[in-house]
Symmetry: C2
């Protein structure tokens, strides 16, 4: 959902409201996550450099333990997780070879973690047949422990840490100053709403870091990439802010037409927070278990030049693949179908030029942390 | 499929040919594997005793590696795998506490392995919520490597090692002395057929042991339970032999009625070999990586007393849950439905008394091996 490009690598001609996010259908995440992959590639060089400089590969593999263990937190069903983990393995191998050209290469074990609702059957089905690692699936919320102590060496979390563990309760509390009436996100909302989102996210990230601090060996690395925003910039000016406001406006129109109630809209809020790097760094420093070795903002879509344009229909398909699940938890399926239809026909055309320009901003942050 | 008892713990009132082995439907393995669980319980005391005596728990958990790793090879979708692995953890914990009452308990990580066709989503969904271990799913054939070197401490394989990696080619070769014309198994077949089955199984077990020898630490334990037969006893006299002959007779009748062709029956053979303990021991000794610490035959159904009887309809449901997949790979679904119907109505009633008696034989073997 973070970037746009006229890209049809995984394009599929089947259309319509087939609800098969976890599988391989036209609307599936598997076939509609090419934007996320391209966005992750942008930061590959930076990550490679920091790992090469900082990771002590020798200490990871002793005579008694000749396995290097990697994990992806929030892996979804693939295929991006396979590509990004292979990149990490390649860089670790390269460093190992350069330091110990005459020693046998350690073996690699890769763990794919996601929520219990993730479709692990699809993930397993598409594991690269020629992979150079032993694969395992691990289910459970990454806000808590999912691995034994000191059992991981290099881990990543791509496009996952912006998901909140839950929507802040105050957003749906009529007596709270953070009551988010008539809105579904903090884009363009009150300061109290923004604060409630930010606090929930900071607590989630702190829980994530506490769990990883136990699981990652001293000297091990944690790489994170997430949708973000320059510190101090209003979210409503961002491409995603424009998108969420379009969702909001679509739902409000539907409530005016009596298709859904006003209360239903008031009760719904997107559990997403695209923190600026400053807030991420503040949580890491307060948490205390990790050093920040690299931090920054990038443009996730450098290939989106001024004369490149995005197919809006395809864009909506990609957005739907990663976001539909949030809506179907709250609204009936036919309401969600109608909402995406209205979004495409009525709402997005009005802001799409502005969104295209906004996607050229630096709205993706990356972090390379090292366990102290 | 290995034992019978009038047992309705997981009984379900829905009937009919719903094909949902991997899920939770009436014919699913999940709801129809209570026999396998009861059968495994019989050997629990023996296994506990050998592990307590032989496993050096101290060596498994050093200062640098405080995790004990277990694996189940051929876990299916549960729930039996959860029960039997918890038993293994309990006995390891007990020994640890008795030897080191003042040291902190190591953490446990449990890997559930099965073929790529296994339904891991169902397995994950029913992981015990109060489990005392970190769980991971690992897909891949256990006839090859699926874990890093020396990464496992205690492993088990229950009711899985009788599955052949493939049917011996000679059984469907018209020019071979082992051509198994008009038959679907070695029960009541020629010596050449029996030999072809036995050789395929021995090679599979040797491959399994070679892979586990790399994955299990020196001193680690491997526990196996499988359907078996006393050395020298003809398979056709066994309960499963009677069952397979009933399948065979049903399919032959259907080919006489023109519903399937004779060639289709000739081309089908059950990929199952219930080796006697002597053959298992011979493979382990020739393989050379493991010591046999315990070996034996048990009656899998000691609760099946003379006055206990089995509900035939329920029995067929259980059989179907574990065996249907073999048939649907080869025959159209409607043929398989018809076959199970005919089995229940025409064939099994003729041999069911004899089968009930035969199930009281010692037809389950257990092995406790230790990695040298």
């Amino acid at each position: 959902m973070e970037a746009l490009v006229r890209e049809t690598v995984l394009k599929n001609d089947v259309e319509g409201p087939i609800r098969e996010i976890g599988g391989l259908g036209a609307n599936s995440y598997f076939k509609n996550s090419v934007y996320q992959r391209r966005a992750a590639n942008v930061t590959k060089d930076i990550i490679d450099e920091v790992i090469t400089k900082k990771l002590d590969v020798k200490s990871l593999s002793s005579a008694s333990n000749r396995t290097i263990r990697l994990a992806d937190f929030g892996c979804a069903v693939g295929p991006n997780t396979f590509t990004s983990l292979q990149s990490l393995i390649d860089i670790v191998k390269k460093k190992y070879l350069s330091q110990f050209p005459n020693e046998p290469m350690p073996e690699f074990q890769v763990f794919f973690n996601d929520q219990p609702s993730n479709d692990f059957n699809t993930l397993f089905r598409f594991l690269p047949p020629d992979r150079e690692y032993f694969a395992a699936g691990v289910l459970g919320s990454f806000h808590g422990r999912v691995f034994p102590k000191s059992s991981l060496h290099v881990v990543q979390s791509n496009y996952a840490l912006h998901w909140l563990s839950k929507v802040p309760e105050s957003l749906v509390d009529k007596n709270s100053p953070a009551w988010n009436k008539g809105k579904i996100h903090y884009a363009g909302a009150s300061d109290e709403v923004l604060k409630a989102y930010g606090e929930r996210w900071a607590e989630d990230l702190n829980n994530f870091l506490n769990a990883r601090a136990e699981e990652i060996v001293p000297g091990g690395m944690l790489i994170a990439i997430m949708p973000s925003i320059p510190d101090g910039m209003p979210y409503s000016e961002l491409a995603n802010g424009l998108l969420y406001s379009s969702f909001e406006s679509t739902l409000l129109d539907m409530s005016k037409r009596g298709i859904i109630s006003e209360d239903q809209v008031d009760a719904f809020n997107l559990p997403i927070y695209a923190a600026p790097p400053g807030e991420f760094a503040a949580v890491v420093e307060k948490n205390g278990y990790f050093d920040i070795e690299a931090i920054g903002l990038t443009n996730p879509a450098p290939w989106l030049t001024d004369d490149a344009h995005v197919d809006m229909k395809e864009y909506v398909r990609h957005i739907r693949a990663s976001m539909e699940g949030m809506f179907t938890k709250h609204f009936p399926n036919e309401i969600v179908d109608e909402m995406f239809e209205q979004l495409l026909v009525n709402k997005l055309p009005k802001v799409f030029d502005k969104m295209e320009r906004a996607y050229k901003d630096k709205i993706q942050s990356y972090y390379v942390l090292q366990r102290k």
